[in-house]
Symmetry: C2
Subunit: 445 residues, 2 copies
Amino acid sequence: MATRSTIMDTNSFRPEAAEGVAPEILAMTRRRARLLGPAYRLFYRDPVHLVRGEGAHLFDADGERYLDVYNNVASVGHGHPRVVEAVHRQMTTLNTHTRYLHEAVLDYAEDLLGTMPAQIGRLMLLCTGSEANDLAVRVAQAHTGRRGVIVTAEAYHGNTAVVSQLSPALGSAQPLAPWMRTVPEPDPRLAGSEDLAGWYAAQVSAQIADLERSGFGFAAFLADSIFSSDGVFPDPAGFLAPTVDAVHSAGGVFVADEVQPGFARTGSAFWGFERHGVVPDVVTTGKPMGNGIPVSGMAARPEVLASFAGELPYFNTFGGNPVSVAAAQAVLDVIREEGLQQNADLVGAVLLSELRSLAAEHEVVGQVRGAGLYLGLEVVSPDDGAPDRDRALDLVEELRRRRVLTSVCGGQGNVLKLRPPLVFSPSDAEWLVTALAGALTTVAP
Amino acid sequence: MATRSTIMDTNSFRPEAAEGVAPEILAMTRRRARLLGPAYRLFYRDPVHLVRGEGAHLFDADGERYLDVYNNVASVGHGHPRVVEAVHRQMTTLNTHTRYLHEAVLDYAEDLLGTMPAQIGRLMLLCTGSEANDLAVRVAQAHTGRRGVIVTAEAYHGNTAVVSQLSPALGSAQPLAPWMRTVPEPDPRLAGSEDLAGWYAAQVSAQIADLERSGFGFAAFLADSIFSSDGVFPDPAGFLAPTVDAVHSAGGVFVADEVQPGFARTGSAFWGFERHGVVPDVVTTGKPMGNGIPVSGMAARPEVLASFAGELPYFNTFGGNPVSVAAAQAVLDVIREEGLQQNADLVGAVLLSELRSLAAEHEVVGQVRGAGLYLGLEVVSPDDGAPDRDRALDLVEELRRRRVLTSVCGGQGNVLKLRPPLVFSPSDAEWLVTALAGALTTVAP
């Protein structure tokens, strides 16, 4: 169980430690505190005030250029003209709901489902990844007639009442569902001499058995196949297959939360689950789907959807509206036409190799893991190799001073999360590696 | 408790009763059935295929013009150029999340909070009304330390797992929360000789007492102040005041769900709760807020938010992003600059009066109720004045043939829901009244 919030409270601005922050920035933070709810968190001890974006770059109010190594929402690049144009054209034409007929939502559904295994035959469109996971849990529970859901130890699946209770990464103040169980992150070091795939299936099977004993029964294993908030664990590709077999043997549903790895990010595959050679029962999508226009999806096997949606009406006012669909369609088109999956693969591979070279030179860098343009770099103590959260946060701040934007993830909060827009170029990668080398020298001279 | 779904399953297309439907429309319905989840419902026995919108008008693929008397999302009018332009400008500039500083979200929060009572001091931005109500329930429960929520008998508050359980309008297949209680719709006929205000407060107090006895305790009364899905009950303005006093006396939270009545719709007030002279603890907003761009809000008294958000991080990836905020700001600006609140007031009053004249001429029309541009028209049996759902549905279909788009609401499904964009003009009202007079003659010759 998490004892702190790794997702939200890491490198936050704190008014009580704001020395050195420019007066105009401080004034904005005070205005935020006065107007917005206290749950809002600002990144960085010295927050950034961004006014413009282009490709993988962001610009602050002083015109300074930043390298975006964090934002997977603007996946095809900030302000991509193709998405801007598609949204503009549709907004001038029509934006209404799905109780009237519209071609675009059907064309998009056909296109998106075409990227998934043939078994995943139906799509529902919503506005946020949270809504998609919330619905996926209801669908899995309706299909199985049971309640229990298994997630990973540091999972984050969204912000609704129910999925918050399935998100231990929110920290110890967040109550968790009594019908939730966790499995550890799939870290080969935890598996020890066992093979990871078998060990992981055994972990999940043990929690299935526990749910069955508890009377809740087992409904679903809900997981992000790159295990991003657990600290990025992509390897070896395929290790999830025996786990998914175990889920199916127990009559459960595998919900692949593709909000993080989906839409070509992992380079070798369009969907994260593909790397594992598995076919999910439900696939949820979100963040990068509309390049910033709120759109999300829940695709499923028809037979899994049937029990839920045969009886229960479900309507999402904005979900699948023509403007959201125009954005989503433009994103799919751009990924293909600009070869962004290949770019993620190529640039990601170069980056992984360069970061591993850095690791060899810097004692405070532990493992570097990644698939495509989703990478994690561990920051560890030079004395004993233990996770070093404080130094990781210092590194994030030091990178921000070098105008490179990123953050941390993982149960110990010590893994640098490197998740740039997919248009990240070789020279962007060069900038990142150079900045990181300098920042490492500063935080661990 | 609802025994059928009034919200979703009213005037739906049914493939088994599709005679007379054009082949190209049928082909689209089959494509939908093949690609989208079975929960999707299509309006009308003969569905409409809309391709363009302008103001209060919509156009189908054959170029036929329809009068939109249903869509409160396109509140300032379909394709309003000011909203289109604001979104386009911001999309070409920057669209990112709220962990970086941005002026527009602060300007908007200040502007929106300025339209509310001074006690409502903090805003959180989300993507859908469902997300706003889901969060409001969590906030109320965290603030009071209790669980119980009271809603109306035919309430619909959204589609997440938790708010679906607070939405009896979803019908008998939807499980309801054990900690939920309902009160009847505020229909003066149910209050009999008692005054509505006192009777309603007594209804709510009885449910508060029941929740206290049950051990769940009382956290919140969650209500839409125009009681739209209950059948539209706006009068007399002020009747909610003793109820809100009772809620506060019991230490509970009043959540005003303004997704339906908010943003100037009721004409006499910008917010529905204002008509009742009450100050809510939490205000949720949705549908019309961004004229179709997914954006919603939860505004609250700071002391009510404190217990939730002081400890719990809450982050909404798309919520409050600069593009959503640009749309929302343009909507606020247009409402003011085009005087849409006054338009709702004036055109709404004319419409109410004309519809009441129709009622006097047609035995199948019962009460006509409304505030501004949110009106409900009861369809009843000419024999005994009982609610006549089937005839109401026939009337909706007959109006659709006359190219007037609307639907029904209410526990008996017999109330025509008239909820057009706020730019509805006197000649639009004329069209509606003429079409309705003709349609009434057809369904009740």
